[in-house]
Symmetry: C2
Subunit: 335 residues, 2 copies
């Protein structure tokens, strides 16, 4: 199945570049409400499924034992920008479990956001694992292992009990069978599993509604999503898409991006979850798709819908502030 | 016409993202030697055609009057990284014409290369127009206007005599009719014109071979391309694709990238020029395509061909240095 062109980038009166994509909206029972493209194809969710990967932190009782509130829980689901407050939060979570940065196995990298990188360059010699965009998830991993007495070293490996537990959770949520055949290694070294986009969306619909989940998992899932919606800065950072999406309508939109053009969202008031993937892996297109797809399920003509569509169809300016073109979603998003 | 998938990005055993593209190889007479995708479609060359836009600097006599050598000529065709040597070169060229940074109309921006941005953040308060990736081209524009006595202000505008001259040059080279209908505004505020990819490649084949060009234009064209091949650092910068391509086989490969996934190249020993465009505008795919397309026309099994194919099909590592997947070109590049 051919994935349709879902996002166009224009210059002058012409289309300069085109992005193809797939997307799906699912309810708590797994019913597909809307879709475009090949949504049965396997897609690596990458960081979009971090809220699923944070469930052991909740279900083990570690989050409660360490007194984690919304900020810590949101941060355990984060792909953050490595701002000062993010690095401090990672250090603080690790300290609750009596550990420090040396426990993290995610590696270190400079910030990818320009303004954050400039600040980092001026204030630190080099970044540590605390600045890694995945340090919140990894701090949560460390806390879960320490609390349950699991050997910490190697917690990123496929064979480690924590990753086996996450694999089971993701099978339960997505309905996909996960194993070495559909496993890859993520940027932060943990396993990532390709699942049909439909299954990924269904997993988030289950987390949102609790449908088909054990009561403890349903409660833990809802608490993580509510924490993200309550503290969106700790899920991403200043001017980031996830943060902006959750700030635009507090408590009404859960959203999380993943590398290579993935985005998931859930709408508590509608009981729906959705997932998109840009075929070519480009973030600008994944963002436009999820903005427009969420807008489709909001009050028609309402303030939030209008705001989201202005984020989906946005003007591009050059270094002199001159309008040079637009990013815009196509009819494939609305048919 | 559907553009084929030309580049795949893998993770584990699976393809995670796919890029579609178009590409064409043309000789000096305009004969298409090889192509894939819709090469008659209009494509904005963006910065890939900077050597064409530098012809007024040569043909006006300004380059000789100001004593410009290979470094200055290469820099007038550059999309550079804003390294210290680049900013200094822009200032030096402007000084030859009795002007300074205030004459530049390209706007200012921080470097996009991470290592350069970190250095800039630590050494300057904010970037000036000298650091703009197009400051070499714009310094050349300023020199051409000052030398010929043309009013300088507004040199970026469609109506300005310099842009009208460039429009005529590009029509002569590409065979396309250029006007407001296929005109957009580039990142540095000058007009950019969508031309069929085939015409763009033919333009560079004419510049390389001189076929069909007035002697003065043929000579100026060849001199600019030779300057780029002689001083590849001044065309882009440390670790940049254009620079690496021209360093791998000195004097045998001319190459220039453009925004939104465009790349052109020319091979003096073969009398061939080529152009590629990634449909979705992604640089990683444009680079893989041009590396593989150039390799196709080099000595089979030779050192340079092997090196270029290892650049086209490259391993991706994560923050811990673990191999997570590959960028690879598909059979569409070789059929």
């Amino acid at each position: 199945m051919q994935n349709p062109v879902t996002v166009e980038v224009t210059r002058g009166n012409l289309v300069e570049s085109r992005h193809r994509g797939l997307g799906v909206v699912v309810d708590g029972d797994g019913k597909v409400v809307f879709s475009f493209g090949d949504v049965d194809a396997g897609v690596f969710p990458r960081s979009a499924c971090k809220a699923m990967q944070a469930l052991p932190l909740m279900e083990s009782g570690a989050a409660d034992a360490y007194g984690f509130g919304n900020k810590e829980l949101a941060f355990s689901c984060a792909s953050h920008s490595g701002e000062d407050a993010h690095a401090a939060m990672a250090a603080s979570m690790l300290a609750k479990a009596g550990r420090d940065v040396s426990a993290l196995e995610c590696g270190a990298h400079w910030a990818s956001e320009q303004s954050v990188l400039i600040h980092q360059a001026r204030t630190i010699d080099k970044p540590s694992a605390l600045h890694n965009n995945c340090s919140g998830k990894h701090s949560g991993f460390v806390c879960a292992c320490v609390h349950s007495g699991t050997e910490l070293r190697g917690y990123v490996n496929y064979e480690h009990p924590l990753q086996a537990e996450i694999r089971g959770i993701m099978e339960n949520l997505t309905g996909a069978v996960l194993g070495e055949d559909n496993c890859g290694t993520d940027g932060c070294s943990i396993p990532t599993y390709a699942v049909p986009l439909k299954g990924l969306a269904h997993g988030f619909a289950k987390m949102l509604t609790g449908n088909g989940l054990a009561p403890e998992r349903a409660k833990a899932s809802r608490r993580l999503m509510e924490a993200c919606m309550a503290e969106p800065f700790y899920v991403a950072g200043t001017n980031r898409a996830c943060t902006k999406l959750m700030e635009v309508a507090p408590g009404k939109i859960f959203a999380k991006t993943g590398a290579e053009g993935v985005f998931v969202a859930a709408l508590p008031d509608r009981g729906l979850a959705m997932a998109v993937k840009c075929e070519d892996g480009t973030t600008r297109a994944a963002e436009a798709m999820i903005f427009a797809l969420i807008a489709r399920y909001l009050e028609n003509g309402g303030e939030v819908q209008t705001k989201l569509m202005s984020m989906a169809n946005r003007s591009m300016k050059n270094w002199n502030g001159i309008h040079v073109g637009d990013v815009r979603v196509t009819d494939a998003m609305f048919s």
